[in-house]
Every structure is written in C-alpha cells, then in structure tokens.
C-alpha cells in the first residue's frame, strides 16, 4: 500500500488518495497518468498488468488498485 501511494503521489501530489473513491469517474487521473501508473505499478510490484485489467473500476481508488495487484500476483 505504501509503495502504491508513493507512486500516486509522484504522479499527482494534490489528491487525497486515502479517501478518494472515484479517481477515474471524477477525472482526477487522465489518460497520460494511467499509462505512467500502469508502468510504475508493473515495475514496483514486478507484475504484468494485462489489458483486461484496464477498466475504470480497478483504478477508482487505492483499495481497488491494491485488490487488482493482489489478484494478478495470485494468478502469476
């Protein structure tokens, strides 16, 4: 969780990630941020995020992202 928060802070430090639940729906993260985010998460957690995971629901909150990371880790 800490590591993920660090990545997100680096992308946009002005968002309160601990409470945000609609990062995508409220357009807080744009397409360019998503690409950086996916690249950084893949590197930091040593996982491959296949395109089927790239849906808004998986990126709306930190919790959702963590859950997605764990699912991928379990699969691998």
């Amino acid at each position: 969780m800490e590591e993920l928060l660090e990545i997100l802070e680096e992308i946009n430090p002005d968002i309160d990630y601990e409470t945000a639940t609609a990062l995508i729906d409220d357009k807080m993260l744009d397409s360019f941020s998503i690409v950086s985010l996916v690249t950084e998460i893949s590197d930091a957690f040593d996982i491959e995020i296949s395109p089927k995971y790239l849906i808004p629901e998986n990126f709306n909150s930190v919790q959702a992202m963590m859950k997605m990371i764990e699912t991928i880790q379990d699969e691998e």
Binding site: I24, L29, D30, S31, I34, P51
Partner: protein, 500 residues
C-alpha cells in the same frame, strides 16, 4: 470558391441524410448541421457585427462544430476556447482578441468568471424558425479562425488564418491521400487545438462522417478500440501520445481495430518503438507521419512509413504537400546539404499573429524562393536536414519551444508565470524528453519562505493542465553562465541527473 462554407452547402446538397458529425450521445446529418449552423448565423447579436472575432467554447462534442460554422455563416471568424483553462488564462485570450460575443453550450458561467461582459449566446438559443442565413459574401482572404497557442513572454499568441489557407490545404490533402465520402474519421484532437481542423474540414469537403471520440476512452484503450469498431472508424489522425497509450498498454493483444485503413500522426515525433507495434499489429494499414505548424493551415509535409522502423530510428518529416513550398535556409542562404531552418511558402500560410505586428514581422516576411520568384514566407523555428532520399529530418528547435503530449509549449511561458508569483525571483524550465516531464526550477526571492509546493500549487491555477510542471524544485541561486545569464544547459544537466 467564395469561402469555406461552399463545401458545407455542396456536401449538404449531395448527402442530405448522411451523418456528418457524431459524438457518443448525438449525431447530426449534413442537412441538420447546415440548418442549425445557418440559423445560428442569423442570431441578431452575430448579425450586428462582421469580420469580427467570436469565441466558441470548444468542448469535445458535436455542438462545438455547429457553433463554429454558425459564426462563419454570420460573416465573422471564430476563436476556439478551451473550457478547461484557468479563468486568468481565458481572460487573457478574451481581452487580447477583443471578442464581443461568445458561443457556448451551458458555459455562460465560465465566460462570466473569466471577466467576459459581452454577449453570451447559448447553443440552445438557436432561433427555432426557418430563417436560414445564406452564405455571406466573405472573401477568401477574410479571416476564418484564430487559434491561441503558448507565447514565450507569457502573453497568449493568436494565429489568424483565412478561408483561402484552409481551402488550399484541404484540396491538396484530399487529393494526395484519396479521401472520399466513405471514410469515417475518428477525431481525437480537441477542437481548441489546431490539429483538429484537419478532421473537421476533411468531413466538410468530402462528405465523410466525423466521429468525436470520448476523451475518457483514452485512459482505457480497450474501450477505445471497441468503440472505433462499433462506429466503423476507418481513418485516424492522432497525436503520437494518444497512439502510444494504446500500444504501451498492450491493447492489441485483446482487441484489434477492424475497419482502420489509414493511421496518421501529427504534432510531435512518434517513438519508433510504439509505431513498430502498431505496424506489426496492423500490417494492411497505411501509416503516414505528418508535419505542420499552427502558422500554416493543416500540414505542410508528410512521409509515408512503409516499413516498421528500428527502435531508435528517427522518422523523416518527408516531402512537401502539393500546396506548399518547403525549403531550408541558414543565414539568408538556401541550404541543400547540411542543417537549416525550415521555411514554408504558399496559400496555406496564416495571415498574422492576431494584434501583434512585431511578432508577425519577425516570423513572416516577403522573400525570394529557391526558384527565384518572390513570395510570403514563414520561418518555422524548426531546424532540419535532408536525408539521402531527399526527405526532411527534424533536428532541433531554434528556441525553447517544446512538444509535450502533442501540445506546443513555450518553456518561457511557464517561466514567466512562475516569476510572476510573489516570492519567486527567477525561474528556469526544462524538459526531460525521455521521461516526457516538464521540470521547473525556481530561485526564491531573498527573505521569502516560499516552497516548491507553494509554487507548484499556484502554477496550477494559472496555466493549462498540459503545461503543469511534473516537478518543481527550488535552488538558492540559479547558476549563471559567463555572460551572467541563467545557465540553462547546466540546470538541465543537474535536474536530469536526479530521478525525474
């Protein structure tokens, strides 16, 4: 041809029931498009003025295009406004252009918050009668639109173009690539961005349909490609940043665009690695690299890419489109061997920088062409050379202008904005091209306790989002070179070393 509206009249006559413009929620046939635009053009507040600038809030929706043409039917010219801009920035454009009327779709509040006290007309105020405007007697040389771009002094720079420039471009463009009414254009570039004019006027001239692609799909490209398939999009002309998102996220392993025939890219260099992925996934598609600048209508050079490039290969800009003369000059002499600045001549040239004679004289001049004839010439500021095939290759910029996510940005504008903040003595902005990050370094004024975070937050309220620095750093004193000027190369070296 009298003016650009003749294309619309012709297409509406030829394809009355064919869809011209579609976004996610709505669509307009050529007849509906023409009727709505011409009714809008008869709005009393627009009929009261002529050959004057009219603002149009350029949301990513079908109505934006209709409003632009409403302005043209009234015999005026439009200035697209980015509705997401901070109010300060909008106010600068509104004041600089002196626009007395703004059109929008439920955006009056944004106009008023930006200090606009003229007439606001809403899309829903289109007169509901049969009082259609006829094509005005606008001359081909009359202004058609002006687009504001980043200006190095912090003052926005409006590039004004006339009807003839767009007619000249669109005729050459359709000819060169054989576009007809059967293509479906997938528009990505926002309508306040000059590159979008290529999509709009291609629809107008050929009778093809323009599909305005929802911006949010670019975050989740599987949805985007599925949408392209659903709408049967056959042609796209996107900025490389948008194309790269698709391949960086490995979208093609899940879904392929089924109807695409042509993929064009414009606005910045396309990283060869990503282009290769596109070309490998779509072997039957035509790929073309386009080159142009806001000071010419559309584009002025193109290069068809027939073989997937090597990973570190630089794509050529190519050869001139038939309506342009493009050549290199250095120190007043033509260059055929070696590097020189790209110069462009032809009908596609912009008229001027709006209300800025000094800048206009600096970039546009009358001079001799390589064939000895005299003509108006535009100096692009891009340095290039020829390769062994006679194709132009971009080398560098003459100034501190960069391309970031397809947008043209003057680093000077960001520096100027930073220096206008209380507590900032000096600022130097650099671009990390590899990581695509804008980095701003500031020297706080003596005695000021301003932090990098304070500066970053203030900048966000003053500049368009694509210009926000990814990182702001402070230095007690910016290093100076032997001439006592800020040592930009040294600062670049220092910040690039950090993990930026």
């Amino acid at each position: 041809m009298k003016n650009i509206l003749e294309y619309l009249e012709k297409s509406a006559e030829k394809y009355p029931e064919k869809i011209a413009i579609a976004d996610r929620d709505k669509s307009y046939t050529f007849t509906e498009f023409k009727n709505s635009a011409s009714l809008m053009g008869n709005h009393p507040s627009l009929k009261n003025i002529s050959n004057s600038p009219v603002g149009v809030f350029a949301s990513h929706s079908a109505e934006t295009i209709i409003m632009m043409f409403g302005v043209l039917y009234s015999g005026n010219f439009y200035i697209p406004l980015n509705p997401e801009l901070p109010c300060d920035k909008l106010a600068q454009i509104i004041n600089d252009s002196g626009m007395a009327v703004i059109l929008g779709n439920n955006q009056e509040e944004t106009a008023r918050q930006s200090g606009f006290d003229g007439t606001y007309i809403d899309f829903t105020d289109i007169p509901q009668n049969n009082d259609y405007a006829i094509i005005p007697e606008t001359l081909p040389t009359a202004p058609m639109f002006a687009i504001y771009t980043s200006g190095s002094t912090g003052k926005p720079k409006g590039v004004q173009k006339n009807h003839l420039s767009m007619i000249s471009f669109i005729e050459a463009y359709t000819d060169e690539f054989g576009f007809d009414e059967n293509i479906v254009i997938g528009n990505q570039t926002p309508f306040f961005f000059d590159a979008s004019a290529k999509d709009i006027y291609l629809m107008l001239k050929t009778g093809a349909r323009i599909e305005i692609l929802p911006a949010e799909f670019f975050s989740f490209p599987i949805m985007l490609i599925k949408y392209l398939n659903e709408r049967r999009v056959s042609f796209i002309s996107w900025v490389p940043t948008a194309l790269s998102i698709v391949t960086k996220l490995n979208t093609f392993s899940e879904v392929l665009p089924l109807y695409l025939e042509k993929v064009f890219f414009v606005g910045e260099a396309f990283p060869a690695k990503q282009l290769k992925k596109w070309m490998t996934a779509l072997p039957d598609v035509r790929f073309v690299n386009l080159y142009g600048s806001s000071e010419t209508a559309g584009i002025c050079c193109f290069c068809e890419i027939t073989e997937a490039p090597e990973e570190d290969e630089q794509l050529p800009i190519g050869k001139p489109l038939s309506n342009c003369k493009v050549f290199l000059m250095d120190d007043g002499k033509f260059v055929t061997d070696g590097v020189g600045e790209i110069h462009v001549s032809g009908d596609a040239l912009a008229d001027c920088y709006y209300n800025d004679e000094e800048k206009t004289l600096n970039s546009f001049f009358i001079g001799e062409l390589p064939d000895g004839s005299k003509s108006r010439i535009f100096r692009t500021g891009d340095i290039a050379k020829y390769n062994e095939n006679g194709d132009l290759i971009f080398v560098s910029r003459r100034d501190n202008q960069i391309k970031h996510m397809g947008y043209r940005i003057e680093l000077g504008e960001i520096e100027h904005t930073a220096q206008s903040i209380d507590g900032v003595a000096k600022a130097c902005c650099v671009y990390n091209k590899k990581r695509q990050k804008i980095i701003l370094v500031c020297e706080p004024s003596a005695g000021s306790s301003i932090t990098a975070d304070d500066i970053r937050r203030t900048i966000k309220t003053k500049l368009a989002d694509y210009m926000h620095p990814a990182k702001v750093l402070t230095m007690e004193a910016l290093p100076l070179n032997a001439n006592g000027k800020t040592d930009r190369p040294l600062i670049e070296k220092i910040v690039m070393k950090e993990k930026n």
